[in-house]
Subunit: 225 residues, 2 copies
C-alpha cells in the first residue's frame, strides 16, 4: 500500500493526488503538517516538505520525495492516463509549465495566502496582513492573464492534450481559490478550463476536503461560477 | 545549432552544460544577464531566467526553459552518457537530489553569494553584507555535512552510478567555491568526490571561465585541494 504524507491545502500533494486518481493508483493519505517539523517526518525527508510517498510493503525502499519526482515515477511505471505525452519537445513545454506554477504561482500567490490565512491562524495566532493579501490577489490577476493567453492559443495549458501542467495549474489555483485569492471576473477562458478540471472525477473528491479552522470561500466547490 | 542563453556564474546553466558536454551535444553559448531583464529575452522566457535553449534551425519551435526540463529533453533524445539511469525508483532519488541542490543549496548558499559578491558589485554598486556572507558559509558547512553523509553511504550522490544529481551538486558547489563560500576543511569525502568531478573533461573547461569584475578565490581551479 502506498502511503502519502500530505495536508489538505498542500498544492503539491494535490497535483500528485489528481495524477494518482487519473491513473487509478490507490493510496492511503496520512496527515502531515510540515510546520510541526515532526522528527519522524524529518528523518524521512530532510527537506521537511510534503508530499512524501512510501510503500508500506517495501520498508527498505527510499521514501519518494518532491512532487515532480514522484509524478515522473508514476508516469514511468503506470501507462494509464499519460500526463507527459507527445514528443520530447512537447514534454519540455509540459515540464516548463509545471515548474512555472509550482515555482512562481506558488511563490507569488499560494504561499503568501497559506501564510496569511492558514499559518497565521493555525500556528502563529496572528491576524492576516491585509497588504500581503492584496498583493497576492494582484499577482493572481497577472497569473490568470497568462493562463488566459495560453488557453487562447492551445486547448490545454501546455498543448493539445491534458498534461501535468494542467494538474499543476489547477492544484495551485484551487488552493488559492479555497483561500479566497481568485477573482474570476474577466478571466472567462481560464474559468471555463477550470470548471472542466473541477468536474473531473479525479478532482471532485479533493474539493470536498476541508482544512480545520480555515473554511473555503463560498463558491469554491461550485461548477457554475 | 543549439543556442544556450546563460552567464558564467549561473549554476543551473552549468549543470546543463556539463550534461551537454558528457553527451557530446554541441551548442553556442550566448551571454545573457537576467538582471538586465532584456525585452527580447523576456519574450523568449516570461520567467526571465537562465538557462534557455533554442535551436537556430527550428525558429518556429518553442524555446526550452528550465534547466531540469532541458536536461530531461536531452536525456530522452541522446542515449550517450545517461545521467538518469537505473530503475524508476533510482530515478526518483536522482530527481529528488537534483531538486535538493537546485532549491535548497541554491537558496541558502549560491543565491546569497551571487547577490552579495556579484550583483552588489555589478549592478547595485554596494559592498557585500558580511553577516549574510557568514550565514551562507555556515549553511555551506551543513550542506557539505549532508553530501559527506550521502557519499559515505553511496559511491555517487544519488546511488551507485554518476547521475544528474552529481552534476547539480557539483554545479552549485563550484559556483559557491568560485565566490569563496566553501571551506574544504573537515569535508574530506565531499572534497575527494568534487576533485573527481572537476577532473572530468566535461567540467574542466567551465572552470577556466571568468565572470567580469568578480574573480574566483585562489584554489578554485586546483585539483589538489
Ligand atoms: N518542491 C517541493 C515543494 C513542496 C513544498 O513546498 N511543500 C510545502 C507545503 S505546501 C512544505 O512542506 N513547506 C514546509 C517547508 O518548506 O518547510 C515539491 O514539489 O514537492
Ligand atoms: N528553475 C530554474 C532556475 C533558474 C534561475 O534561477 N536562474 C537564475 C540565474 S542563476 C536567474 O535567471 N535569476 C533571475 C531571476 O530569477 O529573475 C532552472 O532550473 O532553470
Amino acid at each position: 500500500m502506498w502511503l502519502l504524507y500530505q495536508f489538505p491545502l498542500c498544492p503539491f500533494s494535490r497535483k500528485l493526488r489528481i495524477l494518482l486518481a487519473e491513473k487509478g493508483v490507490g493510496y492511503e493519505p496520512r496527515r502531515e503538517s510540515p510546520w510541526l517539523r515532526r522528527d519522524e517526518f524529518l528523518q524521512m525527508n530532510p527537506a521537511g516538505q510534503t508530499p512524501v510517498m512510501v510503500n508500506s510493503e517495501r520498508p527498505a525502499a527510499l521514501p519518494m520525495i518532491d512532487s515532480m519526482a514522484i509524478c515522473e515515477y508514476f508516469e514511468e511505471t503506470v501507462d494509464k492516463a499519460s500526463m507527459l505525452g507527445g514528443t520530447s519537445a512537447d514534454r519540455a513545454e509540459i515540464r516548463r509549465l509545471v515548474t512555472w506554477f509550482d515555482t512562481f504561482f506558488y511563490r507569488d500567490i499560494t504561499a503568501p495566502l497559506l501564510k496569511e490565512r492558514m499559518e497565521k491562524r493555525l500556528v502563529l495566532r496572528e491576524s492576516p496582513d491585509a497588504g500581503r493579501l492584496r498583493e497576492a490577489m494582484k499577482a493572481a490577476v497577472a497569473h490568470l492573464d497568462y493562463t488566459d493567453y495560453l488557453l487562447d492559443n492551445r486547448k490545454w495549458i501546455a498543448g493539445s492534450t491534458i498534461s501535468l501542467a494542467d494538474l499543476a495549474a489547477a492544484a495551485q489555483i484551487s488552493i488559492a481559490d479555497y483561500l479566497g485569492g481568485i477573482d474570476w471576473k474577466s478571466h472567462e477562458t481560464t474559468k471555463r478550463w477550470y470548471v472542466g478540471m473541477k468536474s473531473r472525477p479525479s478532482f471532485r473528491p479533493l474539493l470536498a476536503e476541508r482544512m480545520e479552522v480555515v473554511s473555503p470561500h463560498a463558491d469554491y466547490e461550485k461548477l457554475d461560477l
